[in-house]
Symmetry: C2
Subunit: 331 residues, 2 copies
Amino acid sequence: MKPKATLKKISDKLQISISTVSRALKNHPDISEHTKQKVKELAELMDYEPNNYAISLRTNNSKVFCIMVPQISNLFYHSFISAVEEEARLYGFSLMILQSGGDPAIEIANLKICRQNRVAGIFVAIGTATKDIQPFLKMDDLDVPVIFFDKVPSFQACNKVCIADEKAGTIAADVLLRNNKKNILGIFGDPEMSITKKRLDAFSQKIAEKGKSIQLKTKHALTAEAARKIVHKCLTPLQKIDAIFCMSDEILTGVMKAVQELKLKVPESIGIIAHSNGFIPNLYSPEISYVETSGHKLGKLAYNRMSACLSGSTFIQELTVESVYIEGGSL
Amino acid sequence: MKPKATLKKISDKLQISISTVSRALKNHPDISEHTKQKVKELAELMDYEPNNYAISLRTNNSKVFCIMVPQISNLFYHSFISAVEEEARLYGFSLMILQSGGDPAIEIANLKICRQNRVAGIFVAIGTATKDIQPFLKMDDLDVPVIFFDKVPSFQACNKVCIADEKAGTIAADVLLRNNKKNILGIFGDPEMSITKKRLDAFSQKIAEKGKSIQLKTKHALTAEAARKIVHKCLTPLQKIDAIFCMSDEILTGVMKAVQELKLKVPESIGIIAHSNGFIPNLYSPEISYVETSGHKLGKLAYNRMSACLSGSTFIQELTVESVYIEGGSL
DNA sequence: AACATTTTCGCAAACGTTTGCGGCAAAGTA
DNA sequence: TACTTTGCCGCAAACGTTTGCGAAAATGTT
């Protein structure tokens, strides 16, 4: 890009020094109001745009964050990204969004891109295959805060923001119980992810509290297609499943596909509840009841945490956002 | 970010000059193989990462593209973005994705962000409210190529890549005719957008070729909700609509919602066909037949065009990608 | 041996901006 | 009047990298 106006050009025209131009544009107290006004007017007239590369090189400080996700097509990430973008825009930051495809090798390559671009901080949802987060923790040594969100490392001490998984699990189970469901199929995500473990444990525990009168069968699905197959396999005349819990939007799409294929009536023949951001549940009639796991609040929280880290906060925090139940017509 | 290794540190350790280190890492022919090897080994040992800010400042050349879209939740953009990201990654470019919310004022602010970050080029899907594209064309004066895609300016001479709208419209109409649909409701997008005009004209013309035996009613919907209401209004016992064409995924979601609410059987009572990237049609059973308007090929094409512009090509091109019909079970 | 060419480096300037420090003039204080 | 403080600027260096040009040594040619 060929910039048209620089500090030097302004200083030449006004017969003042470059440093004065710089200070005037920054409202530095050492510069007189008269000089400030002249500088600002001319800068505006000349469409002066600061060169962020020069600024970042000089200040060793960039105004770019990276958001790294497995895939941008995951609906949960939309609201997260938009929330972070809103906040970032307020403070003059830009976002670089990098996809990893859930591949650890690409995550490493993405970290390299982050280092080369000297990003100020990284928000990352790791892939399910990511076991070693040392490369991420090393970014902290370079003073680049890393905030994990959604799929976060289970045991390592690191900055994390996530949905309150236990609560989300408990709410869903609670709703099913309140709707007198007796034979429940719970389809959860990747069993190795902490979000899955937490939600499953809370869900099962809540169901178990009701005693032997409630049957719960739990399965795991990593894709919509896997979830679809589980439904075909479990919903046989011998097994009177009366409700299905879907731990994610993706699982919900697979379940709903199977329900339609089996021509089951919702909620008459089968009840459905999901963890969702709301987009998919609203595609169906009656609308699917869901426990909202919106990324929006999470994005705001993650941004706050990032700001704290950039301001010098060095301690590790794991923050959570509560879920809320949104009633549709599927139970 | 606090970099650990710099050219200077390497040059200090090897007792050679900074410029030699730089040239060695770039395989400059003036540097001996012996020196190159020593430099590269030490650079790797020290985890040297070039500082892109310094490079961009010195070379007046950045390796960042901007993709500007109204909203990342639009499914069409996922494949477009992923395609551009794949190509960009191959050539060492990063992507900055900015949302405009379809607001022209935010588009202007985003262009400012692009200038401040000295982006190498911009891929932009403008919002429906954007009338004045002069601010975009001005980026060309700054040697920042702008490639319009999806929602593109109608009349201005500018670089555009889009789906072959006429062909997409014709294919959909052709499919409906081949399935002997006699009473068709066509729901199109914003009537002011060129993609809408082109698809509607081609669609209508194809239907009209069949003579008076085919009834076509066309409507416009800017949201899924508007599409839903149109279906409720048009599908009365007096109006024997036997097929609905949906010009986008968003319109399709509204139409399918209404179809479910009205408890219509697809395809027995009503046929459905849409322009789509495939995600939404696959959520239903039977799957919705669609004319694929995938952003993936478009992304590759857009990237090619961008490369040509960066290599010095100054003439204006409007490039198109053909659509393909994907049969589901909805007709 | 003298001159020309090639190889392989180093110096220094450039990019655009920020910022510490000092200089000078004006105003304030004893 | 002499000294101190304040206001308002400019100089110069810094950031990390690239690159033009020149210098010195080695090699080649007459």
